[in-house]
């Protein structure tokens, strides 16, 4: 049925193609969805033992769906993403498919429904190849807290890909899948995107529905996407975003056509550079890359203005109070009764709960639950939780003041490139400080993106762009224009070429 022009489009190149290129090849019938799906599944089979980016594969279902997609394309019935390969972070509920959230607690959880994001992308036509590895309940910055093993960074498998969406980032960077979902509570999309050399966007709080996204910290969590270019990320976000009656915090704000806005020139766009970003903690080489990236944007007529975020230094401690408090409340649902892990040995109800939770949660999750319980407990609530929510207001206001002068804030995504697996596991504070540049956007609910902007010691680093509320268009525009002039996003780790 399919005419395959294998001379023009050898299967050996499928893994290097972007979503936009794959979509074109499908619509022009140069490739079939089945070929794409089988090629990538076999690549995952060959490579993922070393990367460990997937927890569950959905191969049979994927091939079946790909064949249906091919029929649709042949009949001209395709939708926007018909037949395109994709992966979901194992935090999004997928009907009938194991969803672990990286935890032993959910080692047996098969959701009876799809998350809204999953459903929307399915309706748009994507083929899910599997569910990706992640830090347990998205709590971590290195993907080492996963019950299903740590993930290797495709640039050097001894290094961490970052976290918590480390599996999605590593899978995209290793060319196992062209795009995947992630979630970002304090940097969990942007930090792994930076450390693996790919593009990742966390939209405005409320832009994407959280229904069926397993909750960590509800006022900070936001779903987003990893891809190898801003153009691909724009294609996917356009399908993910929008009002959802099932999530009362999702926004009714109209979803613009991101693919159209990426082509607008950035002449006259005002870009803010944060004074505090250059004061401490930033690796020298990283700084050089950042300034060179800014020069590239300037060469296109963007105007650079220094801005001040006086309270940004308190963003990490603020986050660890708010996020831990919300986590201790959200994770109280895991009681062993209705779903998930259930202890086998108990005398009474109290013991049943305590043992179930003691056995089901890993060390980092336990620490966060206990931190949250502490800051919410009688006598400490005002000093910690209430105080943190007030400081959060100040930090958010700093951003709003800055956005009166600029359209986009640019800066580093991480202080340094990828670190060794195990290097920071003994010191929670050192691990938490990895998110020093990313947390501000979550506290204020602002959209933020990381795009590759160079290398330090042969490892990729990212440029972070933060936008106004619902200003995703400016981020895509800025990022896409940058990617027209640079090829950092096209670099591939040697062993995955």
């Amino acid at each position: 049925m399919f005419q395959r022009l294998s001379i023009n489009m050898p299967n050996s190149q499928i893994h290097n193609m972007t979503l936009v290129e794959l979509k074109k090849a499908l619509n022009e019938k140069n490739l079939s969805s089945r070929e794409i799906t089988e090629t990538l599944l076999s690549r995952i089979n060959d490579f993922d033992d070393s990367v460990n980016s997937f927890i569950t594969m959905t191969s049979d279902q994927a091939i079946k769906e790909a064949m249906e997609a091919d029929k649709k394309i042949a009949n001209g019935d395709q939708t926007n993403l018909t037949g395109l390969p994709f992966a979901h972070k194992d935090l999004f509920c997928t009907e009938g498919t194991l969803t672990t959230c990286g935890s032993k607690m959910l080692h047996n959880f098969i959701p009876p429904y799809d998350a809204t994001v999953v459903k929307k992308l399915k309706n748009a036509g994507v083929i899910m190849l599997g569910k990706t590895n992640m830090d347990e309940f998205a709590m971590g910055s290195s993907n080492e807290t996963s019950y299903y093993g740590s993930v290797g960074n495709p640039w050097d498998l001894k290094l961490s890909p970052g976290g918590s969406s480390g599996g999605s980032a590593a899978a995209v960077a290793a060319r196992l899948v062209p795009a995947a979902t992630g979630t970002d509570t304090g940097g969990s999309i942007r930090q792994p995107a930076a450390l693996t050399g790919i593009t990742g966007i966390k939209p405005t709080y409320g832009r994407v529905s959280r229904y069926g996204m397993i909750a960590f910290a509800s006022s900070l969590d936001q779903g987003g996407v990893f891809a190898r270019s801003c153009e691909d990320a724009a294609l996917i976000l356009g399908e993910m975003a929008g009002l959802d009656e099932l999530d009362s915090t999702s926004s009714a704000e109209k979803v613009p056509n991101y693919l159209e806005s990426i082509n607008h020139p950035i002449k006259g766009l005002k870009i803010g550079l944060v004074k505090q970003h250059f004061e401490e903690g930033l690796d020298e080489e990283n700084k050089k890359n950042l300034l060179s990236a800014i020069d590239t944007l300037k060469s296109q007529g963007a105007e650079v203005i220094e801005i001040d975020l006086p309270n940004i230094g308190l963003s990490v401690p603020t986050y660890y109070v708010v996020a831990s408090a919300e986590c201790s409340s959200n994770l109280s649902r895991y009681d062993g009764v209705r779903f998930g892990h259930r202890t086998e040995n108990y005398e009474n109800l109290e013991e049943f709960y305590s043992k179930t939770r003691g056995e089901g949660f890993g060390a980092e999750v336990k620490r966060r639950i206990m931190t949250g319980t502490y800051v919410l407990s009688a006598g400490y609530y005002d000093a910690y939780y209430l105080k943190a929510q007030k400081v959060r207001q100040l930090i958010s206001q700093d951003f709003k003041n800055a956005f009166e002068k600029v359209d986009v804030i640019a800066g580093p995504t991480t202080p340094s490139p990828a670190f060794e697996l195990g290097a920071k596991m003994d010191d929670p504070i050192e691990m938490y400080l990895n998110d020093i540049f990313t947390i501000g956007a979550n506290l204020g609910g602002f959209p933020a993106m990381s795009i590759p902007c160079g290398f330090v010691n042969n490892l990729p680093v990212g440029l972070q762009l933060v936008g106004k509320h619902f200003g995703e268009e400016s981020l895509f525009q800025c990022g896409h224009q940058f990617q027209q002039l640079t090829d950092w996003h096209k670099q591939t780790p040697d062993q995955f070429k």
Partner: protein
């Protein structure tokens, strides 16, 4: 501020989460570090600042109170480890 062993045990009780005896020392050290770290928040004045409740300062959207879901008990209970006659089984609560 340091967190002692008794406080760890109390937090373990409040959060209904068993802590292994061998884990206590490690949790004590790490939790103390975390609390010391977040104590930085006390260095800034927040007089007359409203605590932030929502990133976009939006109020809760409400909907009409009508039934939108049908009873899907059987499907939902597939995830429970122990059920009987459509009920979830838990240890005896009342004597």
């Amino acid at each position: 501020m340091s967190i002692n062993k008794d406080e760890i045990k109390y937090l373990s009780l409040l959060s209904r989460m068993d802590i292994d005896k061998n884990e206590i020392k490690d949790i004590e050290e790490k939790l103390t570090k975390i609390i010391d770290f977040v104590d930085q928040l006390q260095t800034i004045s927040t007089d007359n600042i409203e605590p932030m409740a929502h990133p976009l300062n939006q109020s809760q959207r409400l909907r009409i109170d009508e039934v939108t879901e049908t009873n899907d008990r059987e499907n939902i209970q597939k995830n429970a480890q122990q059920i009987e006659k459509g009920m979830y089984l838990v240890p005896k609560v009342i004597d």
